[in-house]
């Protein structure tokens, strides 16, 4: 199957939309789980852009980077979720505005 007809900028557009939505989620959610999800969305957006660019240049590198992004996402989420558990335990909340002891 070939993707001759899909313009690159449309795909990038979609990815940028995803990126922006993820960023919006990051900014509006206070629950740490949602925050982590938003991060996933952003990473996914970047991955989409990479795969699209790779396809544009006809190189496998885009997909290689995609795989590595997956790895990164997995590692981050693993540690992140570990932290979520600790947050729940130590702060008795998942609200990051509430779990805020340092400022100034």
């Amino acid at each position: 199957m070939d993707g001759l007809n899909i313009p690159l900028n449309h795909i990038l557009l979609v990815s940028s939309l995803l990126f922006a939505i993820g960023m919006l989620g990051l900014m509006i959610r206070r629950n740490i789980i949602f925050i982590l999800m938003s991060l996933e969305v952003m990473l996914n957006a970047a991955a989409l852009a990479f795969v699209a660019a790779g396809a544009h240049w006809g190189q496998p590198d885009g997909q290689v980077v995609f795989m590595l992004i997956l790895t990164v996402a997995a590692a981050e989420v693993a540690v992140g979720l570990g932290l979520v558990l600790q947050v729940q335990k130590r702060f008795k909340t998942l609200d990051m505005d509430d779990a805020n002891r340092m400022q100034g």
């Binding site: 690159l8 990038l12 990815s15 940028s16 990126f19 993820g22 960023m23 990051l26 740490i32 925050i35 982590l36 991060l39 952003m42 990473l43 957006a45 970047a46 991955a47 852009a49 990479f50 699209a52 660019a53 790779g54 544009h56 240049w57 190189q59 590198d61 885009g62 290689v64 980077v65 590595l68 992004i69 990164v72 590692a75 981050e76 540690v79 992140g80 570990g82 932290l83 600790q86 947050v87 130590r90 702060f91 990051m96 779990a99 805020n100 002891r101 340092m102 400022q103 100034g104």
Partner: protein
């Protein structure tokens, strides 16, 4: 891959080996001191291997570029890591079970930093940065109790991941524009790509800049810094402030130089704005900060602002002087900052109340060694002659003058003048009489403090050997 490549990879291999040995050790018998010794030996061997690798410098696959510069920084961060290790022993001995993971994470984080330093490709940059970061999240959150480390870790993780996403998206745009992922490849095609589609290339580079700027805590991406510095265990803060930041900066400068990004004036403008913002914001924030770790966080913001001046000068100067300046500045910065955190760790430990500057009162009389070292460190951060920090600033100003960056230098002078105030505040506090605190430090820590203080003074008063050495890089 051939044999010489493996030789060139010796530091990375040695670190990986250390990680493996640590895991094996943990599975056989958990013992903190054994883990400590293994890590120490591993770092020392890596240090040796870094000099061994000197004879085999070459690009290793497309991902890594092992050259003198990167090997120098490899050694440097290994020394810094050794200091971190020394400080960690005391700090984490009070933890409950399973503190051996810490050493494993430390080794992995150092590994990430080494990869970052040697990276010559977006992928290795990404992986190095993430490896270092992921290990650091866990290191920050390592203490069993307390909310601050956890809060610091969460903040660092979320914000750092956000920055990584920006970075990745930027990479993707650059890739879309150039079709290249290696620095050299980007450098070769950058001008062409710019001609074809200037905005894509620039927006991509800008996003990369933002992502990396976050790690360097350059304003306005600096917000996380104080919270994470304060929350993290002090040795980890020291590690984060020195190893992590300098590795990222080295990677940034390689990307900037090899990727020939300095040719784009838009990017340069962006850097100028970031530099100015960092210098001023960092120092303003630090002015009346009471917690010394937060204060050092703010000070580091300013320092990377100063350092950015050098990067901006790339547009006007040949890379040699610039990379020399970066070498000197980062070395001075690492030594000085480590000294500061060493003393903070020795004196205040993890006790937030003791991290208040007023708690340092009378240190000159109760613990003269620590006070002297901290004084020297503060003077160095402030850029007073005879200290490494001064020579570093000397480099920056020289480079700035040679490039004619008068506006930036003016800001630098103003910022440095503001900065003197808060560094002096600490020194002043130490000179005032107060009841003495009876903490004591172990000999390794004392040795580290002495060595660091001596290095600051040596770099500042007799920098010639070092400059000669750095000139070879």
């Amino acid at each position: 891959m051939n044999a010489t490549m493996f030789s060139a990879l010796a530091p990375i291999l040695m670190l990986s080996l250390t990680a493996v040995v640590l895991m094996i050790q943990a599975s056989i018998k958990r013992d903190q001191s054994v883990a400590w010794v293994i890590t120490a030996v591993g770092f020392l061997l890596t240090l040796w291997s870094a000099s061994y690798a000197r004879d085999f410098i070459q690009p290793v696959t497309i991902l890594l570029e092992v050259d003198h510069w990167s090997l120098f920084f490899t050694s440097l961060i290994l020394m810094a890591s050794l200091v971190t290790l020394v400080l960690s022993k005391e700090t984490f001995s009070s933890e409950g079970e399973r503190k051996e993971e810490y050493y494993l994470l430390l080794v992995l984080s150092v590994l990430g930093a080494v990869v970052l330093i040697q990276s010559s490709h977006m992928v290795s940059l990404l992986l190095g940065m993430e490896l270092m970061g992921v290990a650091l999240y866990a290191m920050i959150a390592f203490p069993e109790r307390g909310q601050l480390p956890l809060e610091g870790a969460v903040k660092y993780l979320v914000l750092s991941a956000c920055a990584s996403a920006m970075l990745l998206y930027g990479f993707a745009l650059i890739y879309a524009a150039t079709g290249e992922l290696s620095y050299a490849g980007i450098g070769a095609r950058a001008a062409l790509a710019y001609a074809e589609n200037p905005m894509l290339m620039m927006a991509g580079s800008a996003m990369v800049l933002a992502g990396i700027g976050f790690k360097l805590s350059v304003a306005p991406f600096h917000m996380w810094t104080p919270d994470v510095y304060e929350g993290a265990p002090t040795p980890v803060t020291g590690f984060l402030a020195t190893v992590s930041k300098s590795a990222v900066f080295v990677a940034l400068s390689r990307f900037y130089i090899d990727g020939a990004l300095y040719q784009f004036s838009g990017l340069n403008t962006a850097l100028v704005v970031l530099a100015i913002a960092s210098m001023l914001v960092g120092n303003w924030l630090a002015l009346r900060q009471k917690n010394i770790k937060r204060l050092l966080a703010y000070s580091s913001i300013a320092h990377f602002g100063y350092l950015l001046v050098v990067l901006i000068a790339l547009t006007y100067l040949e890379a040699d002087l610039v990379s020399q300046s970066i070498t000197f500045y980062l070395t001075a910065y690492i030594v000085t900052t480590l000294a500061a955190f060493t003393i903070v760790s020795m004196v205040a430990g993890e006790d937030t109340a003791k991290q208040n500057i007023s708690a340092f009162a009378g240190l000159f009389w109760s613990r003269p060694l620590e006070a002297s070292a901290l004084t020297v460190a503060m003077l160095s951060l402030a850029g007073i002659p005879l200290t490494a920090g001064f020579m570093a600033k000397f480099f920056v100003i020289t480079v700035g003058i040679q490039s004619g960056l008068w506006g930036l230098l003016a800001v630098l002078v103003i910022a440095s003048a503001i900065a003197i105030y808060y560094y002096l505040r600490i020194i002043f506090a130490m000179t005032q009489s107060a009841q003495s605190s009876g903490n004591s430090a172990n000999w390794q820590e004392k040795l580290a403090a002495i060595v660091l203080m001596a290095s600051i003074l040596a770099l500042g008063s007799w920098p010639q050997p070092f400059i000669a050495y750095a000139g070879l890089l």
